[in-house]
Amino acid sequence: MKAPLLRLTAICALGLAAAAAHADVKIGFLGTFSGPAAALGQDQYDGFMLALEQKGGKLGGTPAKVIKEDDQLKPDLGVQLMQKLIEKDKVDIVTGVTFSNVMMAVAKPLAASELIFVGSNAGPAPLAGKECNANFFFTSFQNDNQSEVLGKYATDKGFKKLMLLAPNYQSGKDQVLGFKRFYKGAVAAEVYTQLNQPDYSAEIAQIQAVAPDAIFAFFPGGMGVNFIKQMSQSGLVKKVPLLTVSTVDGTTLPALKDAALGVFAGAAWGPDLPSPTNAAFVSAFEKKYKRIPSQYAAQAYDAALAIDSALAKTKGSTADKAALRTAMRAADFPSVRPGFKFNHNGFPIQDQHVFEVAKDAQGRVSLKKIATPLPAHQDAYAAECPTK
């Protein structure tokens, strides 16, 4: 039993060593690739790899090798894999990270390694505020942003009586908090559901009984598919404006199709944002992967472009951390989001939009931008971050 295992390990090690000899810059990609939430990690990875492919396998003119690891949405496993990437694979830059709980867990080993980290989805509040790190950059958004923009939108629309729904865990509460930061009307009810609850019939009956002006909901992944399907079946989507975060996106729309028509979503990116880079990205992604990219793919695509621009400035060198950091901070890349830049805490300053689920030019169900309630928006925690 032991000998074959040893042999296998030896072969693997040899393989890694051989690969390492060829690549000049090594990128560690940690993401969630298994379980119900795997679609997000997959989209991040596909977006990143698309950019790399377009650059001819090089970042900043240097051949790049991506080492992909699956954290399975387990923070402890994420830490182990992060340590493996840092110590064993000796990567030069780390990117990815799908979920905030994994992000918080890997932040410590990452900070200790002093590597440049470019997060392409998770954006937990502590890392934007008190625990911010000069080596961390996020091409996604701070978690609260997408709810904040909907809060502003609800206020702008003059909604007076809102009902808020979210799963009962940290992110759910953060989203509700973010929404309330910009929503000035009254909250008729706050409903916290079980995490990964498949059935929302009891909550939908409550919505019907409360009869709010609008609903704010945060149900990522499969929960969103369940919730929207059931809302649509109850006929509520057509009656009450449904403002959602991470609920209708590129990963859930293919499962929802027409059931999601008319649902609103807060996000910093959508496939119809008017920029030449974005149009090119969307069409290249669709051509390669035969599906409409999600915001996760767009964020990771930007992460690759950001790394590319920084490495181009340092001529492919990652040895001088300060130079690489300064080059990253400049955000000197053609983002798929017009006007994208980094704040002093490493999080973006970017337009936050509201999208509506609608048919695109080809008749597919997609996201259509309808408003930009928070232009050049920065997160609420940046002031607490000591990094200058």
Binding site: P36, E190, Q194, A202, A205, G222, V225, Q230, S234
Partner: protein
């Protein structure tokens, strides 16, 4: 709270209860008769839903999707029985748990490879789209009513099968005393296979009926499986009648718990305490119920004497 709201929650409870029943009926028979713990029971439910989504995607016919899920699950059950499970029937429970857990992981990966990671699309059949007005501004989706109707038909059919047929008699006898049935010359392995296939088909049916209501996704079976285990403990292992009682009890407590616990709590304490406490109480309600049942009727609600 209005009577219409009460009626809506009652229907919700019945609907969720019947979904649990479709899962628990097979589980309780397999566990009761074969003394076989099958953690992969939830995976069969998932496979049923995926088969339905696949068929619906190709043919746009919900009837064909139901047929495909039922036939597909029957065939899958026979294959599983031959390939993997037959060797496990006589092993102890730990071996069964480990092997079927492996099967869960294997099925999840296989489904990922075949269907990808995003949930596939399955719409409500047009005939069942729309809602029925209950009055008072409340409407109830037709699809859920159809689910309830189908669940009732299956429950009655299962009762007739178990209570009125020779096969049913053997199944009941097997649940009471496996060795004796064996000793009387009944081909126990064939009986096992039949029971297992019946359970799988019920699962597949549950999968196809839930597919228009729920997200068809990897791991959808594991969550409901845990609740189904709670159901068979509450109802009494090996009893289909117990599974029905347990399912309805859990379904009702879930629907009414979710509707009334937060409201009740918010009247006796400030929202920052009542919201999280309410949510936790709802999650725990099924287990609290199970603990109470075990305390007062350790053999389950359907147990005689």
């Amino acid at each position: 709270m209005s009577p219409e709201f009460l009626l809506t929650q009652l229907l919700n409870g019945v609907q969720f209860g019947l979904l649990l029943f479709l899962m628990a009926a097979g589980l309780t028979l397999v566990f009761g008769i074969m003394s076989f713990i099958n953690l992969a029971h939830g995976s069969l439910y998932m496979v049923g839903a995926y088969l339905a989504a696949l068929t619906y995607g190709r043919t746009e016919s919900f009837v064909l999707a139901v047929v495909a899920a039922i036939i597909g699950l029957f065939v899958l059950a026979l294959i599983l029985d031959r390939l993997a499970l037959a060797a496990l029937y006589r092993r102890d429970h730990l071996d069964q748990v480990l092997a079927t857990l492996g099967l869960v992981l294997f099925t999840n990966e296989l489904v990922t490879v075949v269907f990808g990671r995003s949930p596939p699309f399955l719409d409500i059949p047009p005939a069942l789209a729309g809602t029925v007005a209950l009055g008072g501004g409340l409407a109830y989706p037709l699809m859920r009513l159809a689910f309830i109707a189908a669940g009732v038909v299956v429950a009655v059919g299962l009762w007739l099968l178990i209570a009125r047929t020779r096969v049913g008699m053997l199944v009941r006898a097997g649940a009471d005393d496996r060795e004796m049935v064996d000793a009387l010359g009944v081909d126990v392995h064939r009986l096992y296979m039949l029971v297992f296939a019946l359970g799988a088909v019920l699962c597949g049916f549950a999968g196809v009926m839930s597919a228009p209501l729920l997200a068809v996704q990897i791991g959808m079976g594991e969550r409901i499986l845990i609740t189904a285990f709670v159901v068979i403990v509450i109802g009494g292992v090996g009893s289909v009648r117990g599974a029905l009682i347990g399912s309805l009890v859990i379904g009702m407590s879930d629907a009414f718990g979710r509707a009334y616990i937060p409201v009740a709590l918010s009247q006796i304490m400030p929202p920052q305490y009542s919201d999280p406490l309410g949510a936790s109480l709802i999650s725990a309600s099924a287990y609290i119920l199970m603990a109470l049942v075990l305390l007062f009727k350790p053999l389950g609600l359907a147990a005689r004497g």
